[in-house]
């Protein structure tokens, strides 16, 4: 055991963990909106809209995240019209490509979680709102969404942890996140076990925090 290396690499890995957290939080926020949108589309009665939303979640859940990142980072640059458009400012940056891939991926999983949460809401609750003369829009925002959020908290907590692990793939498109820096240190020092313990420890610490925050929220919003 090379304890000196472990101590020396700790600040570097901690700095890299900030990149990981940034990637995670931005993609989760964007992904939540995508997920909510597609969950609503899934509940739509129009069969085309319904199938479209299903196809989206099927494709993103059925293929590895690595393929998705590579298609966006390496693949999209090939399209000439895209390269000359304003979107290229975003798509040439590995950081934004990674975030787009993560957000689309977590959006697909989130839409499934939210859809099943919406479906478990008892129709009686909505009918009660209707008979009280509350408009559909307000029922949706004030009744359905809060209940769905509470219902989906445990599953969404798992999704956050899966996404935290997913951000490690950003290192494959040259980003120096926690895994990227860990790999760099391993390949320059050839001390994989020491670096794994430190980097893995940081990941576990983050998982631990996320797990407990979700648990706290679950308690707070339980009824």
């Amino acid at each position: 055991m090379d304890f000196e290396l472990m101590i020396n690499s700790f600040p570097k890995l901690l700095n890299a963990a900030v990149v990981t957290l940034k990637l995670l939080s931005v993609s989760l926020i964007v992904g939540l909106f995508i997920g909510l949108l597609f969950a609503i589309l899934r509940l739509n009665k129009n069969i085309f809209i319904n199938k479209f939303a299903y196809g989206y979640s099927y494709i993103f859940r059925g293929t590895p995240l690595l393929v998705q990142i590579f298609i966006i980072y390496f693949g999209l640059g090939q399209i000439e019209s895209l390269r000359s458009s304003f979107l290229w400012v975003i798509l040439k940056e590995p950081y934004w490509c990674a975030i787009i891939a993560f957000a689309l991926n977590t959006g697909a999983y989130t839409s499934e979680i939210l859809r099943s949460a919406f479906q478990t809401i008892k129709p009686g609750i909505i009918e009660a709102g209707k008979s009280l003369g509350i408009s559909n829009k307000i029922i949706f925002y004030k009744v359905q969404i809060p209940i769905a959020i509470r219902q989906s908290l445990p599953a969404y907590g798992n999704e956050i942890i899966l996404m935290l692990k997913g951000t490690s793939l950003a290192s494959t498109v040259t980003l120096m996140d926690l895994t990227g820096v860990a790999k760099y240190i391993i390949s320059t020092t050839f001390k994989p076990i020491e670096v794994f313990i430190v980097a893995g420890g940081i990941y576990l610490f983050m998982t631990f925090i996320i797990h407990n925050v979700i648990k706290f929220l679950e308690k707070k919003y339980s009824y």
Partner: protein
């Protein structure tokens, strides 16, 4: 379409072989995972706190640390660890281990942690009276497991195991970083030499979708088979 031709002109046969490789790695990893689960599930269900702790450490670490980091650990650390063991037996030459084995082992350990949780849940949801009934009827421990626990456990575990299979299948794409030529690596090579990444990565996505689709169909059949009588 010429890009996908078989033979020297296209990448069809290479990608076909790569797909077989992905399937082979996934199955090997899944089986390695099962053997890990066979060890750790009894530990999880044991009465002894210490054994529980060991099993919990295993599943917590694996489920909390990114797969890629585990793969790097095995990729860079694997041959070192084997050389260390070999040096204790007096063998000091350089040993290079096979990318297939390292990859399957790394993914296998990950899938083993998920399988452990699935088996634990399945065994725990078997009615307690059944164990007592078996005891009363004088079943031996082995017979009790083989004839009573296992058939019910399989029925309860198959839907969740199909999830584990999907995760394992998708995780094998990460082994491409170690240079093992599976779907992802082959697409990377093809994309590099034809300068058509969009096509090859999209094709890789289609291959993965096909694999998940077909395997779901097969697993559904298994599910029906093991739910007979319910």
């Amino acid at each position: 379409m010429e890009l996908l031709a078989f033979g020297d002109t296209g990448w069809g046969d290479e990608l076909f072989r790569a797909t077989l490789m992905t399937i082979a790695v996934s199955i090997t990893a899944m089986l390695i995972g099962f053997s890990f689960a066979a060890v750790f599930t009894p530990l999880k269900l044991s009465k002894f706190k210490f054994l529980n702790l060991i099993a919990n450490i295993y599943t917590t670490i694996i489920r909390g640390v990114p797969e890629l980091l585990v793969i790097y650990l095995f990729f860079f650390g694997g041959s070192g660890a084997i050389m260390f063991v070999a040096s204790m037996f007096g063998y000091n030459e350089y040993i290079e281990i096979n990318a297939f084995l390292t990859g399957s082992f790394a993914i296998g350990i990950i899938s083993g942690a998920y399988s452990t949780e699935v088996f634990r849940g399945a065994i725990q949801s078997i009615d307690k009276g059944q164990f007592e009934a078996a005891k009363v009827l004088g079943f031996s421990k082995f017979k009790q497991f083989y004839k009573i626990v296992l058939p019910q456990m399989l029925r309860l575990a198959i839907p969740n195991l199909s999830n584990v299979w999907q995760i394992t299948l998708k995780d094998t794409s990460l082994i491409s970083v170690t240079g093992l030529v599976e779907i992802m690596r082959q697409s990377y090579i093809a994309a590099g030499s034809t300068r058509d990444p969009l096509f090859f990565y999209s094709f890789a996505a289609v291959l993965y979708l096909l694999l998940t689709f077909v395997s779901m169909k097969l697993i559904n059949r298994l599910e029906v088979k093991y739910s007979r009588g319910y």
